[in-house]
Symmetry: C2
């Protein structure tokens, strides 16, 4: 195929359409900017820089190769035509990104290597992740950076802290940081609500190992919050399933756990979102009674890359305090989808519930597309591989491109 005309900006819209990209033509430009700055480089690195999930980045690469703008020499790189396109049509220069090298752009120093080593040793004993629960542990450095952010913003010292779901081991990171910082004892043990029995047992064992006072409660957040946990905390931390329903449910339970004063604090991690989806996430945050006070786009990194996005955003929240609304302000009318505080939530929650398309795999042997968890197909790709393709027995599968959890 002939390389695209460098003056032809339509290629951006064409590629966006071909890959069904939520970010639109602008997202394609962002991807090319990342290649210009980082490339030639591995696809993972480009995906992280562009804040796109790896499968989406992979689909973009294929289309842009077809358009003649990218080559595979030494990783993902610009072709000659691609170089002309980004210079002449996108107007990109050779400027280095003015990212702070010392902190990787997070604005936070550390975590120091000794802490990373200690937490990594604990993480080594974590159970295998259960992808049907959207478990996707962050790196040790990320868990510690969250704990440092909480220390920095006054959310650790003297606080009663609740962690809602902790496949990220943030509770352990908080204990390590509190110890390293020589803090006085907290007014209450850090409390973790965790649905997964294996994970809860691991957290308890790890806390015992470092002599930390951790309270781990097995609890499914679809169930109403236990009475003794209501209005009992100053600070919440959560990295919920990356569905709008997940954010709504976890934040609704979190709001119930906090004392009703203004100025309670929240820490919400979530996958990078295209603008219109980001707007919905922020609306859910506001509905739950929180104001966003900080938002750090590339704050979180996860073990492995993949389905749920290679980096994720961190939002710091402040409870607005029902009694403290500005005069004349009506309470925002809750959407009907807001979880009921007193009832079990029975709606969709995990990626798999919300978007079954995100779990479609094509068999490399016979080409049949299987939807995990449907029509007798196992619920996880690991189980599908172990059992082989139900149609032909092959064990190699390819995730359907462009899908996103």
């Amino acid at each position: 195929m002939t390389p695209s005309d460098p003056a032809d900006k339509d290629v951006l819209a064409r590629v966006a359409t071909a890959t069904n990209l939520r970010e639109g033509a602008e997202g394609v430009a962002t991807f090319l900017r990342a290649v210009k700055r980082e490339g030639p480089a591995a696809l993972n690195q480009i995906a992280r820089a562009a804040r796109l999930p790896v499968p989406v980045a992979s689909a973009l690469r294929r289309e842009l190769e077809t358009e003649g703008l990218l080559t595979r020499r030494g990783g993902v790189g610009l072709s000659e035509a691609g170089g002309r396109f980004v210079a002449e049509t996108l107007g990109l220069g050779d400027a280095l990104a003015p990212h702070c090298e010392a902190c990787g752009g997070t604005g936070l120093a550390g975590p120091d290597a000794r802490l990373v080593d200690r937490l990594s040793a604990l993480l080594a004993n974590a159970p295998k992740v259960d992808v049907t629960l959207d478990q996707a542990p962050c790196t040790a450095a990320t868990a510690l950076r969250r704990a440092l952010l909480m220390l920095e913003t006054g959310a650790l010292e003297g606080r009663r802290i609740l962690v809602l779901g902790d496949d990220d081991s943030v509770s352990l990171a908080l204990c390590l940081v509190a110890e390293a910082a020589g803090l006085p004892p907290l007014p209450a043990p850090i409390t973790v609500l965790e649905v997964d029995a294996d994970w809860a047992a691991y957290l308890e064992a790890a806390a015992g190992e470092i002599g930390a006072d951790l309270r781990v409660i097995r609890h499914d957040l679809r169930e109403p919050l236990p009475a003794d946990l209501r209005q009992a905390f100053d600070v919440i931390e959560t990295d919920p399933p990356y569905t709008l329903e997940g954010a709504r449910l976890f934040l609704a339970r979190a709001a119930q756990a906090l004392v009703p004063d203004t100025g309670t604090l929240g820490f919400l991690s979530f996958g990078a979102q295209a603008p219109a989806w980001q707007a919905r996430l922020l609306a859910a945050v506001a509905e739950a009674g929180f104001a966003v006070t900080g938002l750090y786009p590339g704050f979180n990194r996860y073990q492995g890359a993949g389905l749920l996005g290679s980096t994720g955003q961190m939002l710091t929240l402040a409870g607005t305090g029902a009694a403290d609304r500005p005069a004349g302000e009506d309470q925002t009318e809750a959407e009907t989808s807001t979880p009921d505080a007193e009832a079990r939530y029975a709606g969709p929650l995990y990626t798999f519930d919300v978007n079954p398309r995100a779990r479609r795999y094509r068999c490399a042997g016979c080409g049949v597309v299987h939807s995990l968890g449907e029509d007798g197909v196992p619920a996880t790709i690991e189980a599908l591989k172990a059992g082989g393709c139900p149609a032909c027995g092959a064990t190699l599968f390819k995730r359907q491109s462009g899908d996103r959890g």
Copy 2:
């Protein structure tokens, strides 16, 4: 007065009530945490660390001195009782804040000293600020940091950029950064809408001095956007009056100036807000069709400190693109206060319009309280001082404590 009982957490609520603090008891704790970390230190420094306006911090200091928790030895510092209180009741340790020293917590390297010097030389020729227009220029370093953030997020190279109101000289900072980064020419000159004739003339002269291609248009944003500026830009930057009305009006005009695609970019600077007010600001952002993609609480610093707050937040925005909403999502119903795109906006706009209390001064001679701009009192404190107290002729005035713009 007897020092407060260190175990008595009620002192926080008492001081919050006495100072009418929007942030509530939690805001008092934040202030004490700042004193613990930074003190003894000048009030300005404590105010910046606590993200509170200086007059508010001043009122807090007075009350906390009365409570026996603060002393004035060497600036604002904890008394012995205060030290016990923050350790025993608030549970604060001696941990240093894990702030990145290299970038001051912004995550951005630079700006380098040569650029700061060049911009400072231009700023030296800026006209006197007009406080009735809420003019409050940021520092040269802040203006450059905004330009670097725009470069970093792909909002400078190859972009058509509109600056709505530019008492911060961000347009000049963008020109300097583009030159320093060796960027190819932009597709259109950076365009500035500025209501103040003197300021517009200064920006034009400064651009001429550095040989930059700047288009400065005198325009009052209360008026509808000129037709040739509609749907003509990829990126907007603004630091509007710090009233909800100011944010709404400037963002409504900004949304009109942007092309209607998803992924257009916005940069909004605004004063630090208490949680419930922050929630209203974010609702205004969403209403205007933007999703917040980054929020950096202490990003902006201003020349002088004072009325409008010592530091300010930077919000990065992405246009959600009307055509790109998730399926089933209705357009948010606009509040009646949303400015009409085709009509002149005739409502309150500047701090002075919205909150006349923010401009009340007590004469040190006779004790009479004057409201600037009312009953024949001049509109600015400078003019009031120059003419003397209308009642007794004295020229020393004290701003009413706890007021906030």
